[in-house]
């Protein structure tokens, strides 16, 4: 076989091997989510994880878009997360409740949704499906707080209060049950509207 054909085979093997590595790792995470007993295989998964996180492979995988798992909407479909901001407009004296920034429609809505999916790190420990390190939790909390404070792009309107929650949607078996899991509930710096908020 000529050298370039051999090289071709090696390129294919490395590229697809990298994709497989990240997906096997992702599959291991999915198995732990569904509670499958993977203790016997965890050594193998640990080894594969170490290989996939070695610097040259990580760099290659990130730049070629392979550094991800393809378990879209699996093993379970995630709940939607909402950041709700109560605002007060000084000029009009009007209070509003916003649930997304003004640019979050169409393509922007998909991007905003990608950000809010990171709110899963703030779920209470009992409801958390994935292992989450404390840095990710603290970082997400800061990020969400900042997003809530900057929701309103104009200086005439001020945020007064914000909260973040996970929304559990109705199921096919229980079509009328919706409930929320509160992730954060804090006042913003501006408090003109406090009375309105506290009133039922």
């Amino acid at each position: 076989m000529v050298w370039w054909k051999r090289l071709g085979w090696m390129v294919i093997a490395f590229h697809i091997g990298t994709a497989l590595l990240y997906n096997i790792e992702g599959f291991h995470v999915s198995l732990s989510v569904v509670g499958a007993d993977t203790v016997s295989q965890s050594r193998l998964f640990d080894l594969l994880g170490r290989v996939s996180h070695s610097t040259p492979i990580t760099a290659y995988a990130r730049f070629t878009g392979l550094a991800t798992g393809y378990g879209f909407y699996a093993p379970h479909v995630a709940s939607p997360y909402v950041i709700e901001v109560v605002t007060y407009a000084e000029a009009t004296g009007r209070c509003d409740t916003l649930i997304q920034p003004p640019w979050a429609f169409g393509s922007g809505a998909v991007r905003y949704r990608a950000f809010t999916s990171s709110l899963r790190y703030l779920l209470p420990e009992k409801r958390r499906l994935y292992d989450t390190d404390t840095l990710a939790i603290r970082y997400t909390r800061v990020l969400v707080r900042q997003a809530a404070h900057r929701f309103v792009g104009s200086c005439q309107t001020q945020p007064v209060w914000w909260r973040a929650y996970a929304l559990t949607l109705p199921t096919l078996q229980a079509p009328h049950s919706t409930f929320f899991t509160l992730l954060a509930d804090e006042p913003a710096s501006f408090t003109h509207c406090k009375e309105t908020l506290d009133s039922p």
Binding site: I16, A19, T64, Y70, W103, F115, G153, L172
Partner: protein
């Protein structure tokens, strides 16, 4: 597997020349999809990536899953050393992104445009993955294949793309089959209840039928799991491809993930439809390879229509009179 068999398999897999028509469609449509996905963000780029955005750029640079140079690094660097305002940097790079998409769509400096676009896409969405989702990673891979393309390695790139798609669907299926909610239809029901990007069809009001969602859920799992094997089997290929295209059309219409669906449909058609477009009317592989040896010439077609209706664009031998 014995040596002659291995040689035949290798000849069929790597040395076989599949018409390059797929690449022409691929890079044009990829450019168009990226253009349509990014253009609506242009008026809001300063709010998404600039200083007037939701987050401090300094905070985003500390993202736990961030790696490499991001748009936030570039804006800070240019502000510090050149004095360029951050929003001006963001707008300039956004315009560069759209220009590269346009170049890709009109086949101008295709490989270079793909390489630039890859870097910019990484800069905007992957280096700090705060706004990124599955589409961005697949996009980067698609651009990688586009940038790597050369007529000499056309078949190699096509094989990479085909195998990559098999990995995508195989693991998509494996991850779904272990989730109980995919068996009873709850997963699909939950997904359609939370549309993302402004869907055209709202099914939740008139279709709360458990058996329907369970059937559809199993359909998705089975199709994704079998894709990696059955897509190579010629008689079944149109059915698998048809179902997958239908599934992604459904995702677009019901969930509003238009860019993602368009990209997946494009990748599927590029990998398993266009290269085999004329296969039914062509000569068997053995004859084609023999013809190529006889003629001593194999033309690789870059994006154009094959000169003859054969699977290998072999010239010099009349298709009506095989040697």
């Amino acid at each position: 597997m014995n040596r002659p068999r291995l040689r035949t398999a290798r000849k069929h897999w790597i040395a076989r020349d599949l018409p390059g028509v797929w690449y022409g469609v691929y890079h044009r449509a990829l450019g168009a999809i990226l253009l349509i996905a990014f253009a609506p963000l242009l008026p809001h780029t300063s709010q998404l990536f600039g200083v007037s955005g939701l987050f401090d750029t300094a905070l985003l640079r500390l993202h736990p899953h961030g790696a490499g140079i991001s748009i936030y690094d570039v804006t800070i660097l240019l502000e510090r050393h050149v004095g360029l305002p951050p929003d001006a940097t963001v707008y300039t790079l956004s315009v560069c992104y759209l220009t590269s998409c346009f170049a890709l769509a009109v086949s101008w400096q295709t490989q270079r445009a793909a390489a630039v676009l890859m870097s910019l896409h990484y800069l905007f969405f992957i280096a700090v993955p705060v706004y990124s989702y599955g589409f961005d990673y697949l996009c980067l891979s698609a651009l990688f294949y586009c940038a790597l393309y050369h007529t000499r390695r056309a078949t190699l790139i096509l094989r990479l793309l085909q195998l990559h798609l098999c990995v995508v669907y195989l693991f998509g299926g494996l991850n779904k089959i272990i989730g109980s909610t995919w068996h009873n239809g709850e997963a699909l029901w939950k997904a359609v209840q939370q549309p993302i990007g402004g869907p055209l069809i709202h099914v939740t009001e008139w279709l709360p039928l458990p058996w329907l969602w369970a059937t559809l859920g199993w359909g998705v799992v089975v199709a994704e799991l079998s894709y990696a094997m059955l897509i190579w089997w010629r008689p079944v290929r149109p059915w698998i491809l048809g179902f997958i295209v239908l599934m992604h059309t459904g995702i677009a219409l019901v969930l509003g993930l238009y860019a993602f669906s368009a990209l997946m449909i494009l990748l599927n058609l590029t990998a398993f439809y266009y290269p085999y477009l004329n296969e039914s009317s062509c000569q068997p592989l053995a004859v084609t390879v023999q013809a190529a040896v006889h003629a001593g010439e194999v033309v690789h077609n870059e994006g154009g229509t094959p000169k003859q209706k054969t699977s290998s664009t072999t010239t010099g031998v009349s298709p009506a009179k095989p040697p």
